[in-house]
């Protein structure tokens, strides 16, 4: 019964994946926890809480749900909606301090782009342990004495996640498209929905075939979720198609505004799907619309102590830490997705972003100013 409920819930919330789903914040007891039980923390995105609860089944522990405005951990933390204040608040107001003797809280690793472990420690006395990226790894993480294996630190984009993203895009677009055609062309609804779902599935499921060609550095024209290619290339194709259509129908002698409007709409939907911010929908590429995609992470070797905070929070396994020589290196810097987690966490300020002009963006700026919905940091647009 619980499994069916879990499945139904997952399906509904995957269909509506692009919308936030807030749930109640505060303390949840899992099993029969005692004063020594581990304390886990997650965001208040409903699906995330359900998945963490499922992973924690059979483990006696406490689960704290902190306010991320109903958005998933990574997006909320990077976008400034899941902050130190939300963590401090749930630690102080949920009553957890009276229930356990220790002061160790396990946070999802992807929260490291927005939450500063040092600030949490300073303001509350709680030690932050960066847990695995995926909730399903939590049991193995506990068995491994609360240490992560390199595999638990990395993000992937397997077929299951790709299917989820395809569904998450196809559903709202097909609903909007269907509502739009009902009044004037109801007989195409079925075909239109097929087109939307087919294109979305094709784009996401074929991802491994073309992913090596993706490059987020090119200049693009976009609007929140859509990415119209270099110089609005996709829109030009659409305009060209419409002009060709008009020309053809005039030459063929059956020009009507109705048919132009219909075909224009159908092709616009197709163009929109092709123009989805694909890279922003994957965890392995930076969005083609975010300004941060052009930044490079620079490691200042004179400041680095080889403490390895960067390696602990990097979801792309860019770092190698040489403890003997007390220095970190970035042998796989090409995999970086500019999430900034390493910069936020480094206690020695040995890491920073550099923009294409060679200007340095200091770590304090990255800690204080987060990306907004259109992928800009307020500080940059104000030129401060």
């Amino acid at each position: 019964m619980n499994l069916i409920k879990y499945f139904v819930l997952n399906t509904i919330e995957t269909l509506l994946r692009v919308f936030p789903f807030p749930c109640k914040t505060g303390l949840i007891k899992m099993g029969n926890p005692g004063t020594n039980s581990p304390v886990f923390l997650t965001c208040n995105y409903h699906l995330a809480v359900e998945r963490v609860k499922r992973a924690l089944k059979g483990i006696d522990c406490y689960l704290l749900v902190a306010n991320s405005r109903g958005i998933n951990v990574w997006c909320a933390a990077t976008g400034g909606l899941f902050t130190n204040h939300d963590i401090i608040s749930v630690l102080k107001t949920s009553g957890i301090e009276g229930l356990v003797d220790h002061r160790k809280v396990i946070l999802p690793q992807l929260a490291a782009t927005g939450i500063e472990a040092r600030t949490i420690k300073k303001k509350t006395g709680w030690n932050v342990i960066w847990g695995p990226v995926y909730a399903k790894d939590i049991p193995a993480f506990i068995k491994n004495k609360f240490k992560k294996t390199p595999k638990m630190r990395g993000v992937e984009f397997p077929w299951m996640q790709r299917t989820e993203m395809a569904v998450a895009w196809a559903f709202p677009i097909s609903i909007i498209a269907a509502i739009a055609v009902i009044p004037f062309w109801p007989e195409t609804i079925f075909l239109l929905i097929l087109l939307v779902w087919g294109l979305a599935c094709l784009i996401f499921l074929a991802f491994p075939i073309y992913s090596h060609r993706l490059n987020s550095e090119r200049k693009r024209i976009g609007f929140i979720f859509f990415d119209f290619g270099r110089g609005g290339f996709n829109l030009f194709i659409w305009i060209f198609f419409i002009l060709a259509l008009i020309l053809y129908s005039i030459l063929a002698g059956d020009f009507t505004w109705g048919s132009i409007l219909r075909w224009g709409f159908i092709s616009l939907i197709a163009i929109l799907i092709i123009s989805l911010d694909l890279m922003g929908s994957t965890p392995t590429y930076k969005s083609g619309l975010h300004e941060d995609r052009l930044l490079k992470v620079i490691l200042d070797e004179t400041k680095c102590n080889g403490a390895g905070f960067c390696d602990q929070v990097c979801p792309r396994d860019c770092y190698r830490v040489n403890r003997k020589e007390q220095i970190a290196t970035m042998p796989r810097v090409g995999r970086c997705v500019q999430c900034g987690a390493c910069i936020v966490q480094c206690p020695f300020n040995a890491l920073y972003f550099m923009n294409p002009k060679g200007e340095i963006i200091p770590p304090e700026t990255i800690r204080k100013f987060k990306l907004n919905l259109i992928g800009k940091r307020l500080t940059q647009t104000e030129g401060k």
């Binding site: 919308f19 936030p20 109640k24 914040t25 505060g26 306010n67 405005r69 109903g70 958005i71 909606l81 902050t83 204040h85 401090i88 608040s89 749930v90 630690l91 102080k92 107001t93 949920s94 009553g95 303001k123 204080k368 100013f369 907004n372 919905l373 307020l378 104000e382």
Partner: protein
């Protein structure tokens, strides 16, 4: 009052917040804040919870009080700082980036007034209970708590009207900013339960906005 939801859109672009709020509230919020701060006396120590861009903070400072404003949004605080220095009131106001969960660091019985405008509706139940408990601790005896906020109407019909006005706006704000405003449930009861006496309550016609004055015994 449902226009307060639109605040959320503005909140994500703090630099436009002030001009936006003036249009949205048509001066109503100004009247409310002016009335509420009339309880503050010269020279009193005041704490403003969730001061945002400093609207309520400024009113209190104009009553010659010494105000401490706290908020978790650093960008809003930057705007507050600018407004305060333009009003030449910097000497009476201190701003801190901190949340209500950090009130534990404030000294007991150190404030005459704890006030908050549109902040309690942003807090979770746990946070509200914690905040009221801490507010009572840090207030001097007979100190005041002043609150202006969105609340859930008591009667079903008014809840329904409120919901009908609000629903389209909720959807709209969700799409644009992926956030929404909330309302506080049973605020007077919570204030009572935290050990305050209620001096006065003023509700608007649809009963979705409250001005409350409470007192520590």
């Amino acid at each position: 009052m449902s226009t307060y939801i639109l605040m959320k859109i503005l909140e994500s672009t703090p630099s436009r917040y002030d001009s936006g709020i003036r249009i949205l509230t048509l001066g109503r919020l100004d009247r409310v804040y002016n009335r509420l701060t009339s309880h503050i006396k010269r020279g009193q120590r005041v704490l403003d919870l969730g001061c945002g861009t400093g609207a309520l903070t400024l009113y209190a400072a104009q009553k010659d009080a010494k105000v401490k404003g706290i908020d978790i949004n650093s960008q809003m605080l930057e705007i507050a700082k600018k407004r305060i220095s333009e009003a030449n009131l910097s000497h009476r106001i201190d701003l801190y980036e901190m949340g209500v969960a950090e009130l534990g660091s404030e000294e007991s019985e150190s404030y005459d007034v704890v006030m908050s405008g549109l902040c309690f509706s942003e807090l979770s139940e746990d946070e509200i209970i914690y905040t009221l408990r801490e507010a009572k601790r840090i207030l001097k005896p007979r100190g005041l708590v002043l609150i202006a906020d969105e609340v859930t109407p008591k009667s079903l019909s008014k809840r329904l009207i409120n919901w009908l006005i609000k629903f389209p706006l909720v959807i709209f704000t969700h799409l644009i900013t992926q956030t929404t405003t909330n309302t506080v449930k049973n605020l007077p009861e919570k204030i009572n339960k935290a050990g305050f006496l209620i001096d006065s309550i003023k509700l608007n016609k649809i009963e979705n906005f409250i001005e409350l004055v409470g007192k520590k015994p």
